[in-house]
Amino acid sequence: MTDHSAVGWSWPRTDAPDKVTGRAAYTADLSLSGMVHARILRSPLPHARLVRIDATKARRVRGVRAVLTRDELPRDPAQARYGAVLHDQGVVAIDRVRFIGDPVAAVAASGLDAADEALALIDVEYEELPAVFTPEASLAPGGVVLHPDPREEEMPGTHPVPGTNLCGLTEIERGDVARALEASDDVIEEVYRTPPVHHCHLEPHATIAAWEAGRLIVWTCSQTPFLTRRQLARLHGLAASRVRVVVPYIGGGFGAKTNLRLEPIVSHLARLAGCPVKLVLTHQEVFHVVSKHASEVRIRSGVMRDGRIVARDVEVTLDTGAYADTGPQVAKKCTYTAGPYHIPNMRIKARCVYTNNPPAGSFRGFGLQQMAWAYEGHMDTVAQRLRVDPLDLRLRHLYHEGDRYITGEPLHSIGLRECLEAAAGRIGPARPAPRVSGKRRGRGVAIAMKGAFAPTTAAAWVKLNEDGSATVAAPTPEIGQGAWTVMRQIAAEILQLPPDLVHMAPLDTDVLPFDDGAISSRSTFTVGRAVRDAAVRVREQLLQLAAVHLEASAADLVLRDGRIGVRGADAGVTIPELMRARLGRSGTLFGDAGVRVAGGRVMDDHGGYEVSASFWFIAAGAAEVEVDEETGKVRVLHYATAVDVGRALNPHNCEMQVRGSAVIGLGQALTEHLQSEAGQLLNASFSDYRIPSFRDLPTDLDVVLVETPHRDGPFGAKGVGEVAVTPVAAAIANAVRAAIGVPIRSLPLTPERVLRAMRGQEP
């Protein structure tokens, strides 16, 4: 890292001026001429046939411009249903409603009062059907099937089982688990559970849609603008390029703003109304859009007396609610989440199950949080059974560089030991509680490893303008993660430009190349590489021009701080001077690059393996807690997390992402639980669903960035966003276990649950 480096510095954020002044525009801040406002009518029942729907009276309300019911949808079911994996969700309810909150109709009107008035006049007749609220009830033989009709696949490979409520079923095995368990000295079996929780992004979902000369334009808070465009185009029977998706700033997503959300309803309303339509969800509605999968993980390990874990059998069941959303993908990801331990015989089976609860989908971590909760609690149980230290047990079994994962793929750039030792080292040995206080203290650790998905592609272009500034077109939305800043840094590093001369092109699918989206923590690694390669192409052209201009050979040229000089000579030229001299007054240099990260089957001398990840990133967590013996309240005294990011291109951004992710983990460890009864959400608002506030921070929260450079990442960088949330709950539960001597296998660790555990009752 030199004075001339852009990478490795905490560059000031691109979006700082906009965000501190209030100029930053989010979708709900936008206004179009002639725009009207929408509201959704939602089902009050968890499962019912939609017998009749009559919007005649609603249409007559003054100010109403359009009403959308199933009658206004195309006859062809393929154009009336969508879904990220299975097309099982109607734009509005078609034959049935399947959860309390399921959209049944929508109204666009000149004002929200008129829209609400119209909603109340839509006449709906339901015929109730039996409803199921747990995967167990849902899979019971002879029960009601939520989606009996065949569903088209948007994404193949997750194996839904027709005629059942199983919408995803995947399994993987290495070695021979049954035989290894049989041969083990001891088998330890446990069940771990997590409840549904919510992303709680502060910006509610918002979308504006307008039709112009047969083209559909949407302004929307999508983390995946190109996937949104493609899916929306299919829904309207259009070619993808006939749909334009523009993404303003996004007020947090964490996975809740991917694929399609409000766009189907709003685009249909806009079509019917003949003018732009805007929909902003209410706070309570947001909790009904998508949440994180509740899970049950059955985990069995075979161990030997000498302390080796030789076999592991895992069965995961996810409650995906009324619609699959990305559930089957999350379940499949769980299948490929074998943990960071080198266990020779492993089997993982995952099931994704429909219920009449609100839908669950992508959540920061994508299944790893649920798996790590089980794995890491289980490791402490195994350690106790084997009478070894939990930290030592982990260190003994962690993968080494080059080891083969459950898929057979060789592991590269996995700073597992560094992360675990760094986090544990920050906590140090457990401090004994002061004698008088009626408190017990304990220390716990956890570690989790995530693979960013593969295959994946990305492309970017870089334009060098006539004034010597560069414009970077990187198709990654700024959801708060600082992606725009790091993309600029990468281009600046290659082109040797200062921060105020590198700009981002706005995010518009008409102009930018295709990208899978700001998901799976992939942007720096994938899009960043494309930006780097595109900037290199521009740099090559620049040096060629300079070689001619300075009458030197390209090998003797030095590019630094916006100026090209000749090694060992005084001759030199600034970039703007060079462009004007060689390209005339209006010169521009342009470079573009595409990146393809391969996935799937790779053949080698040992028969081949499957590449399931573009890179691995790791988070270790260590917690010191204090438990009140009388109330069961858990206080986190000290939490430390170490994350392997490959290379910290912007250390400040990395630290922020890790800290924010860890605090979400804290909330989900201690207070967060999206509660429902018979499908009715009970705490769908911030006043009843507690996310951490300023008051809920641990006394100390340490963040350590570990760097094990990746050979393919831009300047060695990998990803950072998701992983820090994943070990938090387990680290805290392990600390509580050390404090009270009892394991707790369900979340959250509320005082009631901890007290019950201490009293020997079912936690």
Binding site: P12, P17, K19, G22, A24, D29, P499, H652, S693
Partner: protein, 178 residues
């Protein structure tokens, strides 16, 4: 039923004829196009709609616009005076005390109110005052640092009579300018 509401918003007198059931947050955002103030929970819990009414922080989603008649309202747009960022804004930008930014304007307004009331708050005072502003992205630590930094600079300015917005460190351009 409509009423005339006359209030000073960011130093300018504004006169509107509005329905009596309109909320202040909606009138600011829709009629006055001051979209820097955000709206989320609608129940005064998240703090994204925080504005200062007669100098006091208020959840504008809980206040009827008509009740602002005769009062002064300060929103995020009114904070930067004469093109220069308020020290709280500058500190947030310099430290990078934000991520998605949706809670940021409300945070800044609450912090501004805090420092107006108490120029030297300790960590506990800041935590208690700011507890009504939620953030999901940052983990709060850098927001606490930014508020502390702004307080320190304002106290320095008060004692020395110099401006409290310095050049940003570590980079060649000033991030603070709007």
């Amino acid at each position: 039923m409509k009423r005339v509401v006359r209030m000073a918003v960011n130093g300018e007198t504004v006169e509107l004829l509005i329905e009596t059931n309109r909320l202040l947050v909606d009138v600011l955002r829709d009629e006055l196009r001051l979209t820097g103030t955000k709206a989320d929970c609608g129940m005064g819990v998240c703090g994204t709609c925080t504005v200062l009414v007669d100098g006091r922080p208020v959840s504008s989603c809980l206040m009827l616009a008509c009740l602002a008649d005769g009062r002064t309202v300060l929103t995020i747009e009114g904070l930067a005076a004469g093109g220069r960022l308020d020290p709280v804004q500058a500190a947030f930008a310099e430290i990078g005390a934000f991520e998605c930014g949706f809670c940021t304007t409300g945070m800044i307004m609450s912090a501004r109110a805090l420092l107006n009331e108490d120029p030297a708050p300790g960590r506990e005072e800041i935590v208690e005052f700011m507890a009504g502003n939620l953030c999901r992205c940052t983990g709060y630590a850098n927001i606490l640092r930014a508020i502390g930094l702004a307080a320190e600079r304002e106290r320095h300015r008060a004692s020395e009579g110099t401006p409290a917005v310095p050049r940003a460190r570590g980079c060649s351009s000033q991030t603070g300018s709007p």
